[in-house]
Structure formats: structure tokens, C-alpha cells
Amino acid sequence: MDPSDLRVELEGMYRASFGWALCCCHHQREEAEEVLQTTYLKVLDGRARFDGRSSLRTWFFGVIRRTADEQHRRQWLRGQLFERWIVCEPSAPPPAGPEALASAAESSRHLLQAVAELSKRQQQVLHLVFYQELTIEEASRVMEISLGTARTHFERGKHRLRQILAEREGRYEQR
């Protein structure tokens, strides 16, 4: 694909890409920006090439997901190697970024908090289907899992999310 065409295409899905990067980075805004920039670098360098086997969006989302995973692994390793002995504090990331929670409206804040309680796969498949409006099949391609597995995560995730939201709503009404 021509670089100028690619730029236009990437620009077209920039907002969606940023949303997906946020989801992959537990709604840590700075981390999401870094992941997205690294992904652009991979595409510009040719380290990630679009071979046309899937849609550009599916492929690009897959690259973002892998980049985020790489970054998390690197951070985890860094934490294991250095912070463990130097800082002596556990470096577990918060479920949802404080900035995201602070800036989100009440309903969105409840949703973010509820989603954060789901497993990573469940979070991702729900985001791809409901937020990005992809099909479950496309979501399975982005996540590099089988369609059956994606369906299972989707159904279980939906069920669990509804449960959590209902519990939170009940608690809210009791107050």
C-alpha cells in the first residue's frame, strides 16, 4: 500500500485505534499513546506489513494489541528485575486509569469499573464488539483466537458484566 494512502487510512481509524489502545492498556492514557505511537512506528518501518488477508482495521488492531502486550511484558520484566529489589513494591497496574475515571461521566465510570473486573479476553472481546462494532469473527481475528473461544468469552463476559452492573446499581440504590 502506498504510504500516503496508508496515512489516510490510518487517519480515518485514528479515534477507533486510540479507543482500542486504551482498552489494551487498562485505560492508562499515556501508555495508550505510547503503544499507538510504537504501532505507527512499526507500520512506517515496515516491521508490521499489511498483507491483505484481513481488513486493514482488523490487521491494525491486531498490531496494536500485540504492541500493548509487548509493552506490558517489558514493564513486567523491568518490574521483576529492578523494582523488586530497589523499590520493593508490587507493580500491579490499577484496573482503570484514574484520569479516565475522573473525566468519564457517571454512567461511563460505572461501566469502566465494571469492565475492569472482567478477564482481559472478556474485556477485549466486549470492547471490539460493542465499542468498535466489529463482528465476533473479526474480534477473534484481532485477538488471534478461534471463533468458538471468542464467542465463549463474549457470552461469559456479557453475563458477568450485567451481573456486576446490576450489583453496583443495587448498591447505589440502597444508599
Binding site: L10, G19, H127, F130
Partner: protein, 131 residues
């Protein structure tokens, strides 16, 4: 996704609208990445050059290190061959060998020829006539 999922769909759509309002401008993110790439390029180049230089230095040191003992060994061997003598060397010490080893000087030829005269050398042998 079926019609029962409308509630979740709506909730996520609201979240998307809120998040999209805070997304940084694309050109800024893209250009930042391009600049970062430009900044990284000299660093990469330096790293590659250093790696290549280190590899060449290691290869050269290994080559010179392996050649030096070989040269020393060859020198010792050459020396031993020039000084070595076979145990049967004495068999070559035949009479008159010294004549073959020296180059005769011009003018000294006569005395040498005289010296080699059988008559002069074996002058004490005379025929005795038995009467």
C-alpha cells in the same frame, strides 16, 4: 450481537463518545512518531557501527592470536631442521671429502696437484730388486 444487547451497546457507545472527545490530534501523534523515528535513526546507526567495529576487532584479534603461535612453532621447527643431523651422517665422511668442500684457489692448484702426486705421496715405496 442481538437486540437484548442494546443496553450494553448504548453504554459502550456513550463511553466511546466521551473518549473520542479527548483523543489527541492525529497529525500530532503521527508527526511525533515520525520525529521519534528520525531521532532513533542515528542512534541505530551508531549501534550498528559499534557492533560491526566490535565484530571486526574481535575477528582480527582472534586471527592474530591464532597466527602468532603458529609462526613461533614454524620458527622452532625450521631451526631444528637446520641444526639436526642424521645419525648416519658419518658415512658421508669419505677420504678426500675436504677437497670437495673447499673451492680451490687459483694459483694454489700446482701445490695441490703436487700434493696429490702418487709418486710424491708414496715415495717411500720403491721397487726392490731381489738379486
Amino acid at each position: 450481537m442481538n437486540s437484548d444487547d442494546r443496553d450494553l451497546h448504548e453504554a459502550f457507545a456513550t463511553l466511546r463518545r466521551e473518549e473520542e472527545a479527548q483523543v489527541p490530534i492525529f497529525s500530532l501523534a503521527f508527526e511525533a512518531e515520525r520525529n521519534q523515528r528520525r531521532r532513533r535513526l542515528p542512534g541505530k546507526l551508531i549501534a550498528w557501527s559499534a557492533t560491526v567495529a566490535a565484530t571486526i576487532a574481535i575477528a582480527l584479534s582472534m586471527l592474530s592470536g591464532s597466527r602468532a603461535p603458529y609462526q613461533e612453532h614454524a620458527r622452532i621447527q625450521t631451526a631444528s631442521i637446520t641444526t639436526w643431523k642424521p645419525p648416519t651422517d658419518f658415512l658421508l665422511n669419505t677420504p678426500g671429502r675436504e677437497l670437495l668442500q673447499d673451492v680451490p684457489a687459483i694459483g694454489a692448484w700446482d701445490s695441490a696437484a703436487t700434493a696429490a702426486e702418487p709418486r710424491a705421496k708414496h715415495g717411500h715405496l720403491k721397487k726392490t730388486v731381489l738379486n
